[in-house]
Symmetry: C2
Subunit: 236 residues, 2 copies
DNA sequence: TTAGTTAAAGTCATCTTGACCAAAACTAAT
DNA sequence: ATTAGTTTTGGTCAAGATGACTTTAACTAA
């Protein structure tokens, strides 16, 4: 990695740069099986360092926006979408994350519902990747994604977050598919149903999903906002 | 709150300031009951804003230290102690946390073992307070402490963190006292023992604590480092 | 009408949890 | 020395949660 003498001097004197990045998760059907899998949008670096490599969407923090707003803006700019869930992940501040200057990144992670908009916004420098097939990313972004994945799986297993991948109405099989995609293992349909229906945040509607090939499943609704952040002020 | 025109202009142009603060927890015997209670060291503001009020120890981030090192330094400078546990809490970046300038605080929380050193370092501008009797703090520090307390209780209930309040050898009653102090409720000694002894990280020694007034309790040892942070790289 | 598939409900053994009981081991008071 | 008091330690029991599994209901496609 090339580093000029000017850069070294700059590094000593300038204050650490503050940046916001966002790990964005969406489920979309795999090409092969049709089952949902985890995808992440990345942007291509168009300048040094790491020019040409893929990186997490991000940018500087402007003065008029909160940390969360900045993350939301990242999301909007790269995917055209609004987050259905957004939470702070971690502040990464290692000394050598960026070769030329000291930069502290406050990283958020988000869930979005995949729509046409997301696909439409793909371009030469913005592309969606399967979360388990990212390749080598710029900076320490591989480690960041790993940590975000760990948090996502944790929150899914313990919290009630799966519904933010889905629309307002959903079947229990769809919820199970979310769990299976994120946790990457099969779950017993009967036991899963028992667990989900026993949580008070899940409300059964009188509606059924018609048009399927088999017995029409009942539609459910999620009631209850999440977010235990100091920002998102609400429940544990 | 007084704000000069110069400050407003400054606020628009200058980059957000980055600061590190630390919420430090220790247990020490209550004056009355003698049972352990949660205490937090605070420093008095010696300049505006919030001059005279108590605040979390903190300061700017220097170029040669990682975020965690900066938090460690806070801890050392205010208490003279080294942390037995240290973890990132949250990055607070609300627009109006500080009246004069935009400041983003990356806050850590720590556990220390109370020794003579900690008391010795008390002074006019550094004092320990009971966590449940803090009064009004500077900035948004009351909210930060509340969140830190929430995390501490969570980690205690689910993770294996209690031992960092204690020395290398301890009795199960001592561990229970830690839980009772932090969670602020009584626990059944027999059931508590069953839970703790069933975790593989707890090792029973052949030693017993002598000199007590009653049946001498067996001494135990904690084996296994914690920390699931990207920083502390280790186990969940 | 039947075969195939998913939805939904239920059974059963195992494990965990909270409430409670009792013996063991020590000190302090009588 | 004996007894009372306290804590440690081991145990039981019922209620609830969990995982493996079976059965019936409801629909489509052949």
């Amino acid at each position: 990695m090339y580093t000029s003498a000017a850069n070294v001097a700059e590094r000593r004197t300038a204050p650490p740069t503050l940046a916001i990045s966002t790990v964005i998760f969406a489920l979309r059907p795999s090409e092969k099986s049709g089952r949902p899998t985890l995808w992440i949008p990345l942007v291509r670096r168009i300048r040094e360092p790491f020019k040409g490599l893929w990186a997490l969407p991000g940018g500087p923090l402007t003065h008029s926006e909160s940390l969360q707003d900045a993350a939301s803006r990242n999301l909007q700019e790269t995917t055209g979408l609004a987050p259905s869930y957004l939470e702070q992940l971690y502040a990464f501040g290692g000394l050598h994350r960026s070769p030329s200057q000291r930069v502290v990144s406050i990283v958020y992670w988000a869930l979005v519902q995949p729509t046409e908009a997301a696909l439409a916004d793909e371009s030469e420098n913005v592309r969606w990747f399967r979360a388990d097939r990212l390749g080598e990313l710029a900076f320490d972004h591989n480690a960041i994604v790993d940590y975000a994945l760990w948090r996502l799986r944790n929150k899914l297993a313990y919290g009630s977050i799966a519904y933010h991948f889905l629309g307002e109405y959903f079947t229990l099989a769809q919820v199970r598919e979310v769990y299976e995609a994120v946790l990457d293992r099969q779950l017993d349909p009967a036991n899963f149903r028992r667990q989900i229906t026993s949580t008070p945040e899940i409300e059964e509607t009188g509606e059924y999903l018609q048009g399927g090939k088999h017995r029409p499943p009942r539609l459910y609704r999620f009631t209850g906002r999440p977010g235990l952040d100091p920002d998102n002020r609400s429940t544990p």
